[in-house]
Symmetry: C2
Subunit: 118 residues, 2 copies
DNA sequence: TTCAAATATTCCTTATTGGGTATATTATAT
DNA sequence: ATATAATATACCCAATAAGGAATATTTGAA
């Protein structure tokens, strides 16, 4: 997984931009307007998104049309897939018990198998 | 989408920790070892992951067993779902053309509908 | 009580990041 | 050539984050 994807999304304005661009391409000015940003900061954040590969630009005269790229989202989804097991509460109580037992084996000092009561 | 999830993952050591914990719970020392970190930085990064809700701890004597929580991964997956359209290259050439046409309508200064040739 | 292991916290220092403002750049129109 | 709109870049400053090293805390054992 590319860490730049996460750092690009780890900023409110930039995450907002991505959500905004879900509706389709927008210019810098439109993005700045909708998010209440000044133009320079909008440009700077878009640059970060661009370098992270999250968006791409198309120059149309004066304007720059920014839109989402699909690749990083696909990558994110496939990375997430590796965590599907966790969905199903793989580490449920039984597993935790087994893991604890296994951890005990590292220091079988006092009682061997059955800890006597009191 | 909670931004803390992204900022927590936007750091190589922490992303490494998450990947590592995919295999099951580990103690601070084990994590530090496997990632070549000093213990204090391991603890500090784990704290960030903890506060982001990505992991949880279980104290067992001296040790702290850290393991992944499922919720943030579910949240991430459901957030990603909103971007599924982009998978299918929704913004293909036709869409881009239509969007460009719509953008033109904002400044219909010269030609109204049919721009005359030459 | 004293010791040692595992972990957390604190302090310090440096690097990075984000906002603000001014300015440069590019394209269109006159 | 000049003016204007849209955008990018540069510079400065404050806030944040990360590593290093020392220290505090907790637990089990002698």
């Amino acid at each position: 997984m590319n860490i730049m994807t996460f750092s690009a999304l780890a900023e409110p304005s930039r995450l907002g931009m991505v959500e905004l661009l879900r509706g389709g391409p927008l210019t810098v000015g439109e993005i700045a307007d909708q998010l209440g940003l000044r133009q320079p900061q909008a440009s700077k954040h878009l640059r970060v998104l661009l370098e992270a590969g999250l968006v791409e630009v198309e120059a149309v005269a004066n304007r720059r049309n920014y839109r989402l790229r699909s690749e990083p989202f696909r990558a994110l989804a496939s990375w997430l897939d590796a965590y599907r097991n966790i969905w199903n509460e793989r580490f449920d109580n039984l597993d935790i018990y087994l893991q604890k037992m296994q951890a005990e084996e590292n220091k079988p000092q006092a009682g061997e198998n059955e800890p006597k009561e009191t």
